[in-house]
Amino acid sequence: MTATTFSERVVARASRLLAGHGLSRRRFLARTAVVGSALTVDAWGFVLKPQTAYATVCGNDADCNNGWTAFCCTINDGANTCPPGSYAAGWWKVDDSAFCRGAARYYIDCNRHPGATCDCHCGDGECDRRRVCCNVFRYGQCNTQVPGVTEVVCRVILCTPPWEWDPSCTTTVRTDPATRTHSATCLPREFPSHIEIAYQDLGLSGSVLGRQIVGEADAPGGGRIAQYERGAILWTQALGAHHVAGAVDGRYRELGRSSGILGYPTHGQADVGDDRGERVLFEQGGIWWAPETGAWETWGPIHGAYRADGGPTGRLGYPTTGVYVTAEDEQRTDFETGWSIVHDPVTETTRVVRTAVEDGGTEDRATVQRWSGRDRIDTAAEVSRRTHAEGCDIVYVARADAFADALAGGVAAALAGAPVLLTWPTRVPPATVAELQRLDPSRIYLLGGELAADSGVEATLNGYARRGVERVFGQTRYDTAARISQVTFPRPGVPVAFIASGEGFADALAGIPAAAVAGGPILLTRRDQVPAATARELDRLRPDRCFVLGGTAVVSKAVVERLESFTSKPVTRLAGSDRYATAAAIVAATVEAAETAVIATGRDFPDGLAAGPAAVALGGAVLLVPGETIPEGTDRELRRLAPDRIVIVGGTGAVSGPVEGRLATYRATPPA
C-alpha cells in the first residue's frame, strides 16, 4: 500500500466531489488542477478558510460573478492587445504596482466597436474567468472620435503610459485601487523582469516578436536576453530592455547580437518615419531595414557620417551592404542611391563618394543641383537668381497660391527670357521684392486680375519696374490664357498650340518649355467643352498643329474633335497614365536632346511654374516626380536624354533627399 500525504487525500476527495457534479473531463481536470494548486499555494488556508480553491490560487476577484472584466490575453490567444472588433476606449492606473516593479500599472479597456457584435459570457482562462463583453461602460480617454458607450470586451495591461502606447489616448489620469491585485496566468507575475515588462507592453504573443521560445537568460557583459519566434529582447542595467525583430534581428544574429560589433540596443525597433523602413540603434551603430534593401548595419565612423547625413531620409537612402573592408583596406558601406560612405582608418577620414566611381566606373554621371529656398516664393526667387545672374528686362509675377492665371504666363516668360516670381494676393513677399531689386526690370507683367493680386500689389510692383506694371488678365482663367497668348503672339499663323486642362495644373507644367521652344501658346480648356475665349484665340492664331496635353479624363474626345476645326493637321494627344507619365510623354514627343533636365514636384504648381522658363533658358526639359520616388516615365526619359545636369527645383519636402541621391546615378551620356 502506498502512503499518501494529507494534501493528496484532500485532492482526491475534492476530485471525487467535483467529478460527482456532472463536469466534463476537461472541466474536471482543470478544477482538480486548481485544487492541487490551492494546496500548494496555501494548503491550510484552503482547508480552513471559507473560500474556493480558485480564490485561494487566483485571488478574490478573478471569477465571473465578481463582476470585473477579463484580460485580453485570456481571450485573445495570449495577445495583450485589443481583439478584432474592439478598440481602446479608456484607461486607468494603479500606482506603486508590484506588477510594474513599483511603478504605475495601466489598464486599458477594449470596448466593442459600434459596428461589431459579441455575446456576454464568462472567460475560461487560468485565473481569469472574468466577464467578457458584458459591462456597458467606458473610461473615455481614448478614441473619443468613436461615439457612445458599448460593452468592455477585455482589458490590456501596460507599464507604459497609455498615451505613448496609443496616441489616441489622452493624459487625463483616472485611478481604481480596487483592481490592484487583478491578474491572469497569461500576464507577467508580480515583480517581473524588465524583459517581461517590455514583452507585455509590446503585446505578448500578439506582439511583433510572437511567442517566447527560449526563456530569459544571462547575456555577455552582465545583460539578459529572451528569445521569441520572431526576435529577441535584450536588457542591460544602463540601457534598459529593447526589442529587435524580423529581418533586423536576423542581421543582428549574424553579427553576434550583443557579443558582436554593435553591442546592446539603446532603443527598441521603430519606424524610420518615411512610411517605408525600420531601424534599431545600438551602442556602437544601427541596423536599417527597408523592403527593397533588406537589413544592413552601420557602425563606427561610417555610422556617424550616415546619421549626420540624415540617415535613410537623407540623400543616401538605405544601406545595401554592411560595413566591409575594400581592397585598399578602407571600411565602406554602399547605399541604394548609388553613393557609398568610405572610412580610411589610416588617415581617419570619412568621405561620401559615388559607388560606381569608387568601383572604377567612369565619371559620366549627371551632376545634380538643387535650387530651393525656404518656401515656394523663395524657391522662385532662387531659380531667378540662378538663371538671370546679370538681371533682366522683363519679369512675370504670378499668384503663389493659385495656378489658374499663372500657367499660360509660363510660356510667355520663357519666350521673353524672363523669370517668373510669385506674390500673395494682397502683399508682395520680401523675397520677391529683394529679387526684383536685384533684377531691376523695365517692365513687370502681372498675371491675373484684382482677385489674383490687388491694387496694392500692383502699386508695390510699380516701384520696381522702370516702365511700369502691365496686368494681363481676363474674366476667367480661359480668358486670361487667351489674353496672354494675344500679347505674346500678336500675329496669327503660329506653328503650334498646346491645349491643356484649365481644371488642373500638372499637364500644363511640362508643356511650358515644350510650347515655348516650339513657338506657340498654352491655351486652356474644360474637359467637355472648348471655352469661347480659347476658341476665339485658336480661330485667330490658326496654328499649324495642335497638341492636347493629358488623357481623356481631363480633355475629352469631343474637345479634340472640336479642336480639329482650328488646324489643318490632326490633333495629337500627349498623355500617360498619370501626370508623371503625361509629362514624360510630352518630353518624349517634343525634346530630342537636352543638356539639362529640370525636376519638380507634380504635387503642386509653383516650383514647376518657375522651372518651365528655367528649363528653356538651360536648354532642357521639365520632368515631374511625386517627391519620394522616380516614376517609370520620368526614369525612362532621364535614361534617354542622359542630361549632363539635373536641376531639382524645390526643397526636400517637394523632392526628397533619396530621390536626389538616385538622380545622381543617371548616366550623363547614352550607354553604348
Partner: protein
C-alpha cells in the same frame, strides 16, 4: 449644503455627502524618469452618495459601490481634458437633470454587482468635457434612489472652462 470646488458645484440633499478631489500624478514606470510621465494631467472628480463614502475609492466608485444597499444612490462627475471637448463621445451639450428607471441597466456598471444598476453619460458642458456616472443600490427599488440622485442632478453646476 453647497459643495463646490474646481468649477464643479452641487447642493447636497439631506442625507447626502460628497467630495471633489483631484488625482495625484502617477509614478514613473520602470526605466523612466518622472519627466517621462509629466504629461499626465490631474482632473477633478466629484463623488456624491447617500451612504458613507470610504476614504479609498476609484474614480468610478469602486470601494464605495460594494457597500451599497437598496435605496442607496451614488453619483460621480468626472472631468476630462479640453482636447476631449466636442469630440464625438462628448458631443452632447448637457448632462441629464433627471434620470428615469428606464435609463438604468444592470449591465451599465463599471463592475457588475448583484442587484445594482447604473448609467453613464458623456457631454461637453460650458466648454468642459465631463462624464456623469450614477449607480443605484437595488434596481428593483431604483425609484427611491432616483429621488435623491435627481435632486442632486437638478442643482449640479459646471462652470465655464
Amino acid at each position: 449644503m453647497r459643495l463646490a470646488a474646481h468649477g464643479l458645484g452641487v447642493d447636497l440633499p439631506d442625507g447626502w455627502e460628497g467630495a471633489i478631489v483631484e488625482q495625484p500624478l502617477p509614478a514613473p514606470p520602470p526605466g523612466r524618469t518622472a519627466a517621462a510621465v509629466a504629461a499626465a494631467v490631474r482632473r477633478p472628480t466629484m463623488h456624491l452618495a447617500n451612504f458613507p463614502l470610504p476614504a479609498v475609492r476609484g474614480d468610478f466608485g469602486s470601494g464605495a459601490v460594494e457597500t451599497m444597499r437598496a435605496g442607496h444612490g451614488f453619483v460621480a462627475v468626472i472631468e476630462y481634458g479640453p482636447e476631449c471637448a466636442d469630440t464625438a463621445l462628448f458631443a452632447a451639450t448637457s448632462l441629464p437633470r433627471e434620470l428615469h428607471v428606464a435609463d438604468l441597466s444592470p449591465r451599465g456598471l463599471q463592475r457588475t454587482l448583484p442587484g445594482q444598476a447604473g448609467v453613464q453619460r458623456f457631454a461637453t458642458v460650458a466648454g468642459r468635457a465631463v462624464c456623469l456616472y450614477a449607480v443605484v443600490g437595488a434596481h428593483r427599488h431604483a425609484g427611491a434612489s432616483l429621488v435623491g440622485i435627481n435632486a442632486v442632478l437638478r442643482t449640479l453646476q459646471v462652470d465655464p472652462a
